[in-house]
Symmetry: C2
Subunit: 215 residues, 2 copies
């Protein structure tokens, strides 16, 4: 991974939610870039997202692209944030129908999974970037993680989950990412992914504080 990308330099980058409100033209550039990224990723996955092409395709100089997204991984993780938000919106509209929290979470995740199936290359690019991200991308990856957590908690539909349930959610996220990877790299079938998801979702019920139940 060509990255003499180390040095400490003055940070002139865009992005941090702190300063820099982004002018209109800048916002537009950012959108164009993310759009181009997603488009290329949909075509051929991680490898097909080539920085020069993204730049050209979004009518932006290569240097500018790097100013908006300091690396290919940053770009793809941002793309994932973008898509996740979209998906969270969609999922919100039709809440899952299951009776137990576990069922609802499993249903939601499988629904998300089917959505990813429709654009497997895009999914590949995003997930590979996510797991390949090193420390320099931590904030962005964390953001994705929080968003995922939010989706799961939404699906559970519990007002305030117990600490055990939060642990279960963490484990569900782990499983979700890892299962996705095994599927994307062709080492697990969709059926297998479903089983894994359903299996891990049991943890929610298990950790539910049922007074009077001998655990």
């Amino acid at each position: 991974m060509p990255a003499h990308a180390k040095g400490d330099k003055v940070d002139t980058s865009i992005q941090r939610p702190s300063a820099a409100p982004l002018t209109e033209r800048q916002e537009a550039r950012r959108r164009r870039i993310l759009h181009a990224s997603a488009r290329l990723a949909s075509r051929g996955g991680f490898d097909a997202v080539q920085m020069r092409e993204v730049a050209e395709s979004s009518q932006v100089a290569l240097g500018t692209l790097y100013r908006y997204f300091p690396s290919k991984v940053h770009l793809l993780v941002a793309t994932m944030q973008d898509q996740l938000e979209r998906m969270h919106g969609t999922l919100r509209k039709k809440p899952p129908a299951g009776d137990t929290p576990a069922e609802r979470v499993a249903e939601t995740l499988m629904r998300a999974f089917r959505a990813l199936q429709r654009e497997p290359h895009l999914a590949d690019a995003m997930v590979r970037a996510l797991t390949f991200a090193d420390r320099s991308v931590s904030p962005e990856v964390d953001q994705v993680s929080r968003q995922t957590t939010a989706i799961i908690l939404d699906a559970m539909g519990l007002a305030d989950p117990t600490p055990q349930q939060l642990s279960a959610v963490r484990v569900i996220e782990h499983t979700w990412h890892s299962a996705l990877i095994t599927w994307l790299s062709g080492r697990a079938s969709i059926a297998q992914v479903r089983i894994d998801i359903e299996t891990v979702c049991r943890l929610i019920d298990v950790t539910e504080p049922e007074p009077g139940a001998r655990e």
Copy 2:
């Protein structure tokens, strides 16, 4: 990831367990390469494993290195296989002391985790390679997965696990990999990893087929 590594060419590669018994000198070369790979990885993780350096350091031409391991990811996954075998051997010697299968698995994984902690850069390189691997590395990644499964089953110490328990093992593996990644990229503490491991290990007991017994 510079990889115009697509074309279909006659496969002259070493490695496949099928043919090619590997002469002594070849076996030696292979060892030197894996050793160099591990050494460089221990220094600086994924980025520090540079193919030119591995080649030089193992006294082998670059072309030869690529003949033994068709990509950097292949090399690092092979390195992982190597280390995993070593670790399985070590773990076997002192079986975990817990009372329940879940406890034993958690104990074993935490032990493995501490071993990885001792060489965090090496762990980084191997795990990143593993999750970044695409379809062309599936066989090797699968092998690593089987080895991991074997370690977990060993720790459980059950003669023939139920299908549910096998599912649990799969989920444990998912969690293990993903938790490792979050730790390696500094997004989770060791304590957090322990909690995640212990949480997911409950699935084993939950899925235990105890007729009439609440353990």
